[in-house]
């Protein structure tokens, strides 16, 4: 047998082995295990703020760790920094390229970043008298779909070139490149302890990575289309994904498999974004059908809906203190609900 044939056979054997190992620990599913848990209350949230200011579709938003400021990105070519309490715009950052797909706030509150079809991640300093471009991170061979700061010195990016990368913001160079996906990387999320991150891609896989050594530690199967959104549960032991296949799924890291699927026969729109409440009990998922559905993460039941946008919900975010949920839409508005 040729070397290639031998390796293909070994690969198939290993996949079968992994599937069997997962089945061996699959003694129940989340919904059955949660049968004795009191159902989550019916969640009825009101729009507390409608943030108007963008002139085109909003593609991304991210909360600052102060639970008050947030950054949003629109294809009107601007990043806007909002004070969510007053509803006022605090800053506007004009972008060199208006084809923005992602934005992020650094944990310190000093920096924001954005990127998109320009294949670059641009970092801005908000604290200088005039907002300055600090770095243009230019090495990806495809669009920038997502970025997240680890600190003022390091940022993680996900790209349409199928790779994720960790960058040093002093040198502007990639420290580590994460290779394994075979489709465009669409989203990433940092683990609560900052030692690992999870990525979702158009190959319909979610992958868990060690940030420091670049190793892909686990691969999660189940979705049948692009994974557009991903988030860690606050416990750090599970992740939730949202996909173009119209479902969200929770994968438990220690059981190494899907443990529950959030789906409804009546839902046939893709999931664009998701965010979890502070306890991890509620999943806020934004859909192409203009709504944000609220799921009980343990029981898999829909417990509410946020209706109010006139176009696709493209981004959602819950601040660290869990006090509200923000939705951003192609209708150019952001809404704050609680």
């Amino acid at each position: 047998m040729g070397e290639m044939e031998q390796m293909k056979k070994e690969a198939e054997g290993l996949k079968t082995q992994i599937e069997a190992a997962r089945k061996a620990v699959n003694d129940t599913d989340m919904a059955s295990a949660a049968a004795g848990v009191a159902p989550a209350p019916r969640v009825q949230l009101k729009t507390r703020r409608t943030l108007k200011g963008h002139l085109a579709k909003i593609y991304a938003m991210h909360w600052c760790t102060d639970n008050r400021l947030m950054v949003s990105a629109s294809q009107d070519g601007k990043l806007l920094i909002w004070d969510s309490h007053s509803g006022n715009k605090v800053n506007a950052v004009p972008l060199k390229s208006s084809w923005v797909m992602t934005c992020a706030y650094a944990p310190s509150g000093n920096l924001v970043a954005s990127g998109g079809l320009d294949n670059m991640c641009t970092v801005y300093n908000l604290k200088t008298p005039v907002i300055k471009t600090v770095k243009e991170l230019d090495a990806h061979a495809g669009y920038l779909s997502c970025c997240r700061f680890l600190s003022d010195n390091e940022i993680l990016t996900a790209s349409g070139d199928t790779t994720c990368a960790l960058w040093d913001l002093e040198t502007g160079k990639q420290t580590t490149v994460f290779l394994s996906h075979v489709g465009d990387c669409m989203c990433l999320a940092l683990s609560p302890d900052n030692n690992s991150f999870i990525s979702g891609a158009c190959d319909s896989l979610a992958k868990l990575w060690d940030i420091r050594d670049g190793q892909c530690k686990q691969t999660f199967l189940g979705h049948t289309s692009d994974i557009n959104a991903i988030s860690f549960l606050p416990s750090g032991n599970a992740v939730v994904t949202g996909s173009d296949d119209c479902t969200c799924k929770m994968y438990d890291l220690r059981a190494d498999q899907e443990v529950i699927c959030y789906q409804d026969a009546a839902l046939n729109s893709g999931v664009t974004s998701l965010a979890l409440s502070m306890s991890g009990r509620l999943v806020f998922a934004g859909y192409d059908d203009f709504n944000c559905n609220i799921w009980d993460s343990l029981k898999g039941e829909k417990v509410g809906v946020l209706s109010g946008h006139d176009n696709r919900v493209s981004c959602t975010g819950v601040p660290a203190d869990g006090m509200c949920v923000c939705t951003g839409s192609w209708d150019s508005f952001l809404k704050i609900w609680n």
């Binding site: 295990a33 606050p234 599970a238 443990v259 306890s279 006090m323």
Partner: protein, 68 residues
């Protein structure tokens, strides 16, 4: 040569699968129990679950003061 680069790629795929095959897996029942415990323990502190009283809500609708 395209032949040898696809062998290199395939070697990496096999290496990755070997790594993933070797991890320890916990029973779903145990993982589910711990997830439930986490959610329930933190439920009291979850404002979106318990509701936010208007006195402590930083996003409460701003009321206009009027002189009578």
């Amino acid at each position: 040569m395209s032949g040898s680069s696809s062998i290199v790629t395939m070697k990496k795929v096999v290496q990755q699968l070997r790594f993933e095959a070797n991890i320890n897996r916990v029973k779903v029942s145990q993982a589910a129990a711990e997830l439930q415990q986490f959610c329930i323990q933190n439920a009291v502190q979850d404002p979106l679950l318990t509701g936010v009283s208007s006195s402590t809500n930083p996003f409460r609708t701003q009321k206009v003061c009027s002189f009578l």
